[in-house]
Amino acid sequence: MKLEDILQSDVWNVDEEPHIVVDYTKCEKCPAKPCIYLCPAGCYTLAGDRIVFSYEGCVECGTCRVICPMDAITWNYPKSGHGIIFRFT
C-alpha cells in the first residue's frame, strides 16, 4: 500500500495555521535529510533535491524536531484541539 492510502484511515481537524515551520534555507545544506525517511506521516518529501513540507497530515509525534540535524524546525502542537484525532491507538 501507499502511505497516502494508509493515512486515509486517520481523521484530522486541520488548522489553517501551520503548527510546524521549516527553514528551507537550512535544509539545502543538510546532506542526509533523515526527515524524509523518519516522519511517519510523510510530511517531508523531496521535489528534485529540495525539501517540501506539509503539516496537514502530521501525527504530532515530534520526530522531525528531534532528528533534524540543521535545527531547521520550529515545532509546536496545533492550537485548540486541532490536528490529528486518534480514536483507537
Partner: protein, 431 residues
C-alpha cells in the same frame, strides 16, 4: 472559569488524569487541561497496560475500564528473512491488558471529572508561568491561569519544560520512534489465527531484521476485534543507518514489510487498516529524567519525568505514569496538611517517587541497555538463535550433534566459542 486553582494539571494522559483524580477526591480545586478535543484523542501507545498499579488509583479498574483483552500469552520471535524462532509463555490472566489508549485515558479523565476536577479541552498550553523562580500557573495564548501547584504531565515531547529551561532539548539518543497500525480482523479470525479463545489476549515482541539492523523491534497486541502492530526504531541508530545508506526506506515501509511478512501476515489476513500513527517513546528511562522531579510550585510526572521502562522485552509506561500522578497528588496533600505549598513541602514527591516501585524498577534497568545500544550485537542475537535451529533441523543426510550445530553457527557468525559466554552474559544482563 475561576482564574485561581489549587492545582493545575497539564495533560489528561494517564499521569495527569491520575493526579487530577486523586487531588479532586481530596477536595482540591483542580483544573485538568488537555490540548485534544476530549476523549483522549492525542494518545498513542503500543498497546499493553499493567493493571496492579492502576488498581491502587482506581480500585474499580477491572469492572469499569475499557479493557480490550487480558494478556494470557507472551510471545517473543526472532526473525531473519523468512526464518522465525518463537517462544511462548502461557500466563494467567489479570496482570496486564490491552486497550485503546484514547478510550482508556478518556475513562481516566472522566473519573477525575466525576471526582470534582474541572476538565477543560482544546487548550494548548504555551508556557508554564513563573514568578520569582516559582511556577504560579500556565499560559495559553494571552490567558494565564494561576495555581498554587502546577503538575506537568505533558508527555514525552516536553516543550514546556524545555521552554522553562529545566531540561535540554530532546535528542535522538533519548528516544525511539514507534509507528503503529490498527488492523481490523474481527474477533473470530483473530482468535483462530492467534490460537486463543475469547477470554485470551496476546502480547508479542519481534526482534530481527524487520528493522533492517536498526536497534528496536516489532510489536503485536491483540484487541477484541483488531490487532495493533508496529515497529520501533531507536532514532540515534536510525539516523546513523540513513547516513550510512543502510536504511533507505521510509519507516512506514518497515511496518508494511512486517505486516506482509510471510510468517506474520496470515495472522491478519484480509484485515483493513483502521488507524495509523506514530509516537516517541523514552529510551534509558532515568537518563531522560529532569534534574529534579520537584521544583518550586512544580511537579513533573509520567513521560515528561522519564518514567517509562523499556527493556526490549518489557515496556511499561501507563502504569508508571498513573502511579507517579497519584504520588504527586499525595505530595500536594502532604503540603496542605503541613502548612502550605512551599518547595520544602511539595518536594516530598521526590521521596515518594524514589521509594516507589517505579523509580526502583527504572534504576535497576538503567545499566541494562547494551543490546539496544550496540547495533552489531543487536543484529547477531537473532541470527545465532535462528542459525542454531537451522543447523539442528535442516539437513539432507548427516545429523549434527547440538555441539556441532553450535560450532557451525558460531563459525558462520565469526564468533569463537570463548566469545560466546561474554556475549551471552551481556545479552542476559541487557534483558
Amino acid at each position: 472559569m475561576p482564574t485561581k486553582f489549587d492545582v493545575v494539571v497539564i495533560g489528561a494522559g494517564p499521569a495527569g488524569s491520575a493526579a487530577a483524580y486523586t487531588l479532586a477526591k481530596e477536595g482540591f480545586k483542580t483544573l485538568l487541561i488537555d490540548r485534544g478535543r476530549g476523549g483522549g484523542e492525542k494518545e498513542l501507545f503500543g498497546g499493553r497496560v499493567y493493571a496492579q498499579p492502576l488498581r491502587e488509583v482506581w480500585p474499580e479498574l477491572d469492572k469499569e475500564a475499557p479493557i480490550q483483552r487480558w494478556v494470557t500469552r507472551e510471545r517473543i520471535s526472532m526473525v531473519n528473512g523468512d526464518e522465525v524462532f518463537t517462544v511462548e509463555y502461557k500466563s494467567p490472566a489479570g496482570k496486564s491488558f490491552t486497550a485503546f489508549l484514547p478510550q482508556l485515558t478518556s475513562w481516566m479523565a472522566r473519573k477525575a471529572e466525576q471526582a470534582g476536577a474541572l476538565y477543560v479541552n482544546e487548550i494548548t498550553v504555551d508556557e508554564i508561568a513563573f514568578r520569582d523562580g516559582k511556577a504560579v500557573g500556565v499560559r495559553s495564548g494571552s490567558d494565564t491561569i494561576e495555581a498554587d501547584v502546577v503538575i506537568d504531565a505533558e508527555g514525552v515531547n516536553r516543550l514546556l519544560l524545555e521552554r522553562a529551561g529545566l531540561v535540554e532539548k530532546l535528542k535522538p539518543d533519548h528516544v525511539a520512534l514507534g509507528v503503529k497500525e490498527i488492523l481490523r480482523t474481527g474477533a473470530t479470525q483473530l482468535e483462530a489465527s492467534f490460537g486463543i479463545d475469547s477470554s485470551e489476549g496476546v502480547s508479542w515482541v519481534v526482534v530481527g531484521d524487520i528493522t533492517k539492523g536498526v536497534p528496536g523491534g516489532g510489536f503485536i497486541y491483540t484487541n477484541k476485534e483488531t490487532v495493533s502492530i508496529g515497529v520501533v526504531l531507536h532514532l540515534k541508530h536510525a539516523i546513523e543507518a540513513i547516513e550510512a545508506g543502510s536504511l533507505n526506506q521510509h519507516v512506514y515501509e518497515l511496518v508494511e514489510g512486517f505486516r506482509l511478512h510471510p510468517f506474520f501476515r496470515r495472522l491478519w489476513r484480509d484485515a483493513t487498516i483502521s488507524e495509523y500513527g506514530g509516537h516517541l517513546t523514552i529510551e534509558g528511562g532515568l537518563k531522560f529524567a529532569p534534574e529534579r522531579f520537584a521544583y518550586p510550585g512544580l511537579l513533573v510526572v509520567g513521560d515528561a519525568a522519564g518514567l517509562l521502562l523499556s527493556t526490549g522485552v518489557n515496556y511499561r509506561g501507563v502504569d508508571f505514569a498513573a502511579y507517579s500522578g497519584k504520588l504527586a497528588a499525595e505530595a500536594v496533600k502532604y503540603a496542605r496538611d503541613h502548612g502550605g505549598f512551599t518547595y520544602d513541602n511539595i518536594s516530598v514527591y521526590e521521596t515518594y517517587l524514589k521509594n516507589s516501585f517505579v523509580y526502583k524498577d527504572l534504576k535497576k534497568h538503567l545499566a541494562a541497555e547494551m543490546l539496544m545500544n550496540d547495533p552489531a550485537l543487536f543484529a547477531k542475537l537473532p541470527r545465532i538463535a535462528l542459525g542454531l535451529f537451522r543447523e539442528l533441523y535442516e539437513q539432507d543426510y548427516s545429523t549434527p550433534t547440538p555441539y556441532e550445530a553450535l560450532i557451525s553457527v558460531l563459525n558462520n557468525e565469526n564468533i569463537g566459542l570463548f566469545n560466546l559466554l561474554p556475549l551471552t552474559l551481556s545479552v542476559v544482563r541487557s534483558l
